[in-house]
Subunit: 381 residues, 2 copies
């Protein structure tokens, strides 16, 4: 008993042209009929995650963009073209109009012939499928999370990226033999979520934040260790917290600048604090910082006062999910569904239609990646 | 049938004092009687490896040091005291007179009661035991490598650190799933040795060097890929070599500055060269640079144009040897002994007595870590 499937779906697009121009637009795309194990979802809420912004806005200055097109099909073009170097790094997407949006939620309006698909009609589901800044998406049942009744699309919009990232961090800590965690940009939606997961799982967590408001936010959520990088005694405070928790693993969303190296140096200082013999190569205990973001895109600067047992590297949730396999993923999804309104709740500062998402003042707002400022796109608003 | 065991052995010492003064001296130390499975070795050749210099000279300016003591027991003190920060990092060695010298070779002059120990009397052996800048060392048989007759102590002096490091690099490549190697400061004694190992084992090796002489040296030794970091087209040439070999692992002796990041960036560029689809996170193939030295002690600067599948970290031969266990180590030792005059031959630019090792002009020479300049200490010269 399918609702009429719309012929077309408006979709947000990001295009990098050969000449370096970068343009956002809306495109009308066909809605494929669902296969036996597929459904058509009317997308009502899709978050703009930091991981979406790289594709959507690239590393481009979006100040004072040029607005063009028509009222219903506007385009917006960055005032400054992309540099030749950055363009080379994006070679594979040049002149291809890219859809955007890793995750989102909505209501199933049509389904394929299988019982599993038919059972979802009318249900609120969340999906991880790309191109979620679309009015309608045809998706396989296996890529969906079915929410308990009474769950809104807004509540379900951020079911995947942040929850699975937070759970993946704690699981990586266990698999790699560490016993406590450090997290930077810790007042973010993800950071608040990680704090709740760690409190629930009794994992000591050191939250690194940038100001008093962020500290207060995390303290009020029960965080025990909060270190402020704007403090004149940041390194001492961090070393104390590291000595108290024994944390030798950090996840860093900042990426650029000295922070990752400072964390390693403080870990080394905490480990050496009670050293009784001189080891010319420093502590033999391995210290690791994973960079999972690039809030600061400048180079990562590592001072060599960390001994020799250390590592810094990139970390992404998707390769982690591949590693744990479908059964492991299902267990995580079940936990997310059960705790969606508590541990895994997200908060948003605004909801934008597709047209509103192309307005310069809104691009400026969601492009800032400011802590606590997270936006939803509702393609059917 | 033991020779008379000398009562005392002169030993080179390095001392960091609480007030930041750093002093080199000679100390007379007792020679312990050998236990059943031990022998006494008269040390005749011990190399000054980069890995010894950290302990011996620390990161201190040794220009115009103060010479004191007597003709037979001189002392030499660095003109500038160690900074408070560096002193904190060396807390565990402060006011402790440290013996130096990771490895060396000589002749067994006395042995404990066991047959294994007795069998070594008069033999040339190499040892990895620390405190090798000593006239005599009592060492367990298990820590020795017995050389074929006709091997001199000078030939045997560098049996362990460089050969096991070169073999460890190739083995790490295999264990971590890479198929080719990059090596920096590749004209060093170690680099030349790694080149010979890789030629023999058919492992593609990209040698990064700093000038034309170093390139010529490696080319004459059969190196196929040599990239000069002083070339204006270094990055392009390195990318070409990486694309040709598929190397995704580098061992870097430089450590500081942009080089490690440049290697990762060129690996990423080589991997993306034939990419047919855009991956916003870059190539999913893991790229790794291990820093095993600090010829440049300035911070390591990593530009973030390397995708997300990458790692940088410290690497040391000793933890690697612990990982492969005693049987693995014995196999490596056997290969080193068999190929000591070919694959694992070392070259020295000077041989110093213990007294000569304390002369300011010699400290200046071996402290420079210049490529191709490697010194031996002969404590019985």
């Amino acid at each position: 008993m399918n609702t009429q499937i719309p012929k077309e779906s408006l979709q947000l697009r990001s295009l990098v042209k050969k000449n370096g121009e970068m343009e956002l637009s809306l495109a009308a795309t066909p809605v494929p009929d669902p296969g036996p194990n597929e459904v058509v979802v009317r997308i009502e809420a899709a978050p703009i995650n930091p991981s979406d912004l790289g594709l959507l806005l690239a590393a481009v200055d979006w100040k004072d963009p040029k607005v063009g097109g028509s009222a219903n099909r506007p385009t917006v073009t960055a005032a400054t073209p992309i540099s030749a170097g950055a363009l080379r790094a994006m070679a594979a997407r040049v002149d291809i109009s890219m859809p955007v949006g890793n995750e989102g939620a909505g209501v199933v309006i049509a389904a394929g012939s299988s019982a599993a698909a038919q059972a979802l009609i009318g249900k609120t589901v969340a999906g991880l499928g790309g191109a979620m800044y679309s009015q309608f998406r045809t998706l396989p049942v296996s890529q969906l999370l079915v929410l308990p009744s009474g769950t809104t699309a807004r509540e379900a919009a951020s079911c995947f990226v942040n929850p699975l990232t937070a759970l993946g961090m704690v699981d990586t800590m266990r698999r790699e033999g560490h016993k406590a965690l450090v997290h930077t940009a810790a007042a973010s939606n993800l950071g608040q979520m990680l704090n709740r997961v760690c409190l629930q799982d009794h994992v000591p967590l050191i939250n690194i934040v940038r100001n008093a408001d962020q500290e207060a936010l995390l303290r009020s959520a029960g965080a025990r260790y909060v270190c402020r990088s704007d403090s004149g005694t940041f390194m001492q405070e961090l070393t104390e917290a590291l000595a108290a928790t024994g944390a030798t693993l950090a996840f860093d969303a900042i990426g650029g600048g000295p922070l990752a190296g400072q964390i390693l140096a403080c870990m080394e200082a905490a480990l050496n604090r009670n050293a009784t013999t001189f080891n010319r190569y420093g502590s033999p205990v391995h210290k690791q910082v994973y960079l999972y973001g690039a809030l600061d895109p400048s180079p990562t600067v590592l001072t060599r006062n960390v001994g020799m047992a250390w590592g810094v590297g990139g970390w992404l949730v998707m390769p982690y999910l591949e590693k744990i396999g479908p059964q492991g993923l299902q267990a995580l999804k079940d936990r997310v569904a059960a705790e969606l309104k508590t541990t895994f709740a997200s908060h948003y500062s605004g909801e934008l239609s597709l047209l509103e998402a192309l307005r310069p003042e809104n691009i400026d707002a969601y492009g800032r990646r400011a802590t606590g400022q997270k936006y939803l796109i509702n393609p059917n608003k």
